[in-house]
Symmetry: D4
Subunit: 250 residues, 8 copies
């Protein structure tokens, strides 16, 4: 422990009181830097830093990508265009890209995924957001069950999957248009549901605001909501929850 | 036919060309007045004029109430306060009032109700709006099935009633908060669903706008929406649809 | 009846209680699958599945298009671009496309259309949405009367068509800008009016929200509203209503 | 002319250059003060100052009321409560109050009203706002025709009054709910239409915003809009227009 | 008078009662057709039909353009793109186009313009909308004074033009961003002010909604508002008002 | 197992095939009823049914309160007025009421609370919502740490509590006005944060919408949001998460 | 310096390394506590803590009021009702209350106020908010010039005060309705303008949102905006700016 | 002084009373023109006119650019595209362009910058707006400290910079998404904070409206807000404040 060392050195006269004083004066933030390092450790244990690629200049993106890859041996970016992927690939040929989720990554071989997160969508148009959530959760080590196209307009499709969904530690419910899926799932499971409104729709859906309001006003218990199209955010918090559930059964 | 009569009289010299001319000059609107009368006939055959009591001055309300009662032998008012009811009752002791639906009325004995409209609510708090719809439809001669408190947070409650709902010629789906009920019902029946958002809820429901947007953006087919808390409007159009369905089976 | 058969076999010892038990455990959803089949039957009787082409990937669209065509011998897609049409046409040369309504389809020869739906527009700019409604209704077997460019800024144009409109079982009123058309029609007919706000306009029309609010707040009775530009939805529910009206006269 | 006088005095040595300089240094605003007086004259010629009573403290209101009465021999206040009226009446017993328009006033006997403004309402609930407009216009000397309860849900009522409306120099169209009245009138007359949205309605009318949007987005020509419930503002600008029309025929 | 003739013929037995009856049955709308002709006359006297070019298909636009040109010998279109202009010009080489106002037209030589409309803008970016208003008013025969770039951020610029503005029969105040210009002008003139919010600005101006709200809530008297960027609408109603003012001085 | 029993009886001839058939025909929903019972069991194990008292009629509220008390021996109601409490107390004298959280309840003696949920507020005005969350979580068996008045305007107050907050399995962040608390906490902990916007504030906070938007748009990871003032919902989902964390350490 | 002391003691062996370590582990936040004290000092030098009375429970308010009075010998509360004042006065008879600004306070005799802040309002209805700003600034030691009722509808009133306004170090512009005042003042002065929208108005002003948008979108330079009706916030930041200007001339 | 001269000439008979009268009649505005000149002087002393390039036509932009350059020897334009820069550069080869801030300029060598403005951003995506603010302030002569990427999701990053920020006379806080940065900074400094919401984000941030609302509702004192992405406006008012602070220490 650094604090300990310094104090020992003060005691032993190896450094002067004034030198130590200077150190502790800066320390609050260095302590916070330490917190940062601790966070860093936490990150290595599952939540590595992630790049939001959208709108980043090429040099900037490449630079960050490279730096994270060097440090961690793997790197994960969301909202990447195909052009960004190709630019990165020239420098890091092992880079992978999924045009659906728009995730660009170099990933270390992972030990087997743990626990279970169910990622559900109302329609097929919601799949890109769902894949962002699912692949984020997988990158962070969660096992994911994909249950797509089970919107409430055909409730039997959802009911046929209830048992599967109920086994998850956390459900991510992805829906655009009127976003009713989250409420119905909320009534069928006893685990937290992370609702993700999508911008899928037209007219009075106002680019997802309608689905967001639906989910925020849900009459079901156990639902909390992230931003429109925020698959990454849902995958992140779902992983936090899933880890708790996993340790639980260990 | 009046036009016929006048022309006969012109032919027979009973009235002068000028007198007839004066008549026809006014006639376009009298024709429209006639349309009004025709509408009137239509109204007597089921859609009598209805009073929107909210905010009406006492004298005004009493006056209209009395005039309609005289003309039709019955009268029907929505959104009446208890005070308005008591004021009316002093003059028309046979007046009835339902504090839930806030409907005030004097109703003639009706022949048996026809067809079937299913009026469903998500929660118990939506019942006042649902009752406005149901009693409006009944006043206009429809048979109504009430299926209350079948919100999507407990989907099994709705599923247990599916067969009953499917038998109706038209479904009125009344829901506040996130308003998901209409979408689920829309997927379960093949008859028109009239969705009524209610102002039930709090926070981001913005007095029913959230439920309205949910219903307008519904991913199910066969759904159309009326104004927030507009039980009367839903009961009216549902009756129009129900009458078609009824004649169908006659 | 399958349930009957299984029970007979249990009684006769042909299958064990445990085998039967396994069957009934899965059955609720198989029953619902059956409901799905029933829905399927309903669909064949008039409401075939329809493809919302907008935003679908080419492979995906082609795949669904082909599968539906194989199953039903006809297929109907809305919101298709010219590019999507040309892509489909390469594989299915008999495909037809209407650049106004953006409907792409292969249609079986139909028996004569039934009943009557009046599709009205306020202006010429509303015609694409109206055509989506009209052609949807026709695909589902309804006879459609097109009454275009009868907006309230020149009320005589609408009045000249009143008799024609009044003959329909259901009216679809399509209007952008201030969307007043629905209210005026609502006062002139005694059949349900399905109001379709369009995104036609500029400035404070906010891409159709203004017209939507106008229609939702209509002072006329017998009006219900679908989403902005949702011609398909209007054609669908209008057909549901028209079918009732038709059987009525049979 | 004051400027002339001062310069004469400078020329004649009656005042020093410095005294004159001091005067002209202040003059820009005194000139503007003069403009104010000129505006004052204009006001006496028809647009006297008007008191917006709503929310004013009793002392404040009484004070302004008294001062205007002293200066002009008449006074006109809008949005007055009954309590405010009674408070004023104690001091000025000749004060008149109309509980519908909520106008409180002492009015000089006027010469005959000039020209013609047609004030139309969609429903009876819009009458308070219409009366604020009508009585404002009358106070400023305009002749007013009241044409109430001619909303578009029964278009024949409006058509029966078209000729009367067409004779006015300016039409004030007052409507709540969906506010479609202005558009229809705009198509029937060739004079300016001042549209007044009202807060009459409920649900998605959002206290008049829906009617405001309808009127702003009107497809008819010759329509301009004032604030929700702003009868006074409509009566004012309608009088400005009416005066032009009147002088025209003189 | 046609009605007279028919009645004479009925009286004289030249036509049967039934024939006359058939006529009068259709007459309400033929009467309205007549109103249409009357409106048509009004139009020729100054308000010819105007084409809103935006979004019109080439064939459609060319067709309407040609038909109006044939009928009236002149034609006026707003919101035309350069491409539309070039397409039209191929068929009508005498066509003129102003890329600022985006007005396309063939105009007859006009007698001298009458009266005076002052068209003011807050900034230079508002000029396209102002020119649409000014050229519309000129096409309809009004004399227009252009007073541009007199926004309230430098109030002296506006004050320097007050006398010029005060001479107009009607002022059109065109402003984006916060739209304060209309209020200041409203306080300086005693003629009607037609306020036109523009979509000029960024951020919280929400494409002109902020300016619209500013103008609707103006604390000045004598202001009424048209839609965002609706220069045409302002030029139209300003001309209606200007004509009254002109006749006044004749 | 019921299904097993019936099948056994069929096998043994104790009931006929037809009787069994009738049973299984109803069974899908009875199965779902069973699911309901299962849910019921789940509820008894921690998530008992809760009454949303706001707006409930006295008889209705008392009735539900009594029925739940009978069934479970305890009962928990949110958003109760003092009048409702007093009304209930007359019948159930052991009822307790907290005027801050507006929770009314009869609670069985609980075993010691498990795990840890940190409930934080930005200001003192947010405490009622926080208490609703905290007491809900406690009722459902969670241990709660209250950390109030640590809003970001004085960030040192929050930093002083970081260690305490970091120990929780789930953090509930309650804030009105600009709602920045959730973002700062999200950056300091590695557990899920449930953000609760409150309606505390005035002006442009629009009854909590501003805080809601802040939280939904948070730049921190691991945050999900519930409705404005929805303390109950936050306490519920936080308990779901806390239970996972608890078992983890067991 | 405490850090110094501890280190000396470590050096001298008066405390162990472990004891010191424990201290430094807690220190970051104690350092921040110290920052808090520093902030406290800053506060005593002019920005004492202020109580937002609105909605506070009586006991709570009285408690805080008393504690601040004890500590500082003076206390200042905003948004107090008359009832709150009377409650406080019973315990602190020297308390003063201004029913216009709703400020409740006990104030020490101040040295003469410094610098100059000009507080301007558009109308008389904006005065309560302006007084909250002015009295806040005065409490914090600023000299304030009140320039009320100089709204842009009568621009000469404002121009007559320009010189006075230009002398201030900071201008607070308070306006409701359309809020144009800030823009005009921004163009007339070269000092920062703090704009305060008020909720004064009706209809489309949406409780001050319209004025807020006007001010945020101002075309003038040197304007920044605080929340609707936030006189306190404006008085606070204006004082920060005024102090800089004052020292400047010292 | 010109006024003095004229009066002398009147006194001396060099000009007639009438000539002088004509002069003074125009003078109010010439005086205002003088005010304009005065403003001009002020501008030369630090606030030169700035060009908002966005949307300006090439000729227009080049013209203004050239005219300002001629007059002042330097020129500064915001929101310039690369194309605009290249167009200008052809005529003024010494022109400089920063693609990040989109500022185009020719700048005279400046004396050393004065005082200190701290420009902080939450993320790297906010840097373009921050650079617009920083470079504007620098152009107007302020010394600027850039403190970027210190968003609240990692509060230690901000805390590490607190001392540096506290030294500034004014802080510009630039943040998108939820915009919480301004509140936290507001609690850490005792100087005015100018908050700039940015349009950085997606979904429910509604192009910066969410960040704007956050900042307007801030619970911290000493914060005022400019329009979304309005870096220029923030740099301008921050310079006004900084100048006061600087003179203070002189």
């Amino acid at each position: 422990m650094e604090t300990h060392e310094i104090l020992e050195k003060v005691k032993n006269g190896q450094i002067s009181v004034e030198e130590a004083e200077g150190y502790f004066k800066r320390q609050p933030f260095e302590e916070l830097e330490y917190a940062k390092l601790d966070m860093h450790r936490k990150i290595r244990s599952g939540f590595a830093e992630v790049i939001f690629c959208s709108g980043k200049a090429d040099e900037h993106l490449l630079n960050i990508f490279g730096r994270l890859y060097e440090r961690d041996g793997e790197v994960f970016g969301t909202r990447a265009t195909k052009e960004q992927y190709e630019m990165i690939k020239e420098h890091f040929p092992q880079t992978q890209y999924d045009p659906i989720s728009r995730i660009v990554k170099i990933e270390k071989e992972k030990e087997s995924k743990i626990g279970c997160i169910a990622v559900c969508t109302a329609g097929t148009a919601d799949i890109p957001v769902a894949e962002e959530a699912a692949q984020t959760a997988e990158y962070f080590g969660s096992h994911v069950e994909r249950i797509y196209d089970v919107g409430v307009a055909g409730i039997h499709r959802l009911l046929a999957k209830v048992e599967q969904i109920q086994k998850a530690n956390c459900v991510v419910a992805v829906a655009g248009m009127e976003g009713a899926l989250a409420s119905v799932i909320g009534g069928l499971v006893d685990k937290p549901v992370i609702a993700v409104p999508t911008s899928v729709g037209y007219g009075a859906n106002m680019n997802g605001l309608s689905a967001l309001l639906t989910m925020i006003n849900s009459c079901s218990n156990g639902i909390a909501v992230v931003n429109i199209d925020n698959g990454y955010g849902a995958g992140y918090i779902a992983t936090q929850i899933n880890r708790m559930g996993v340790k639980n059964n260990g």
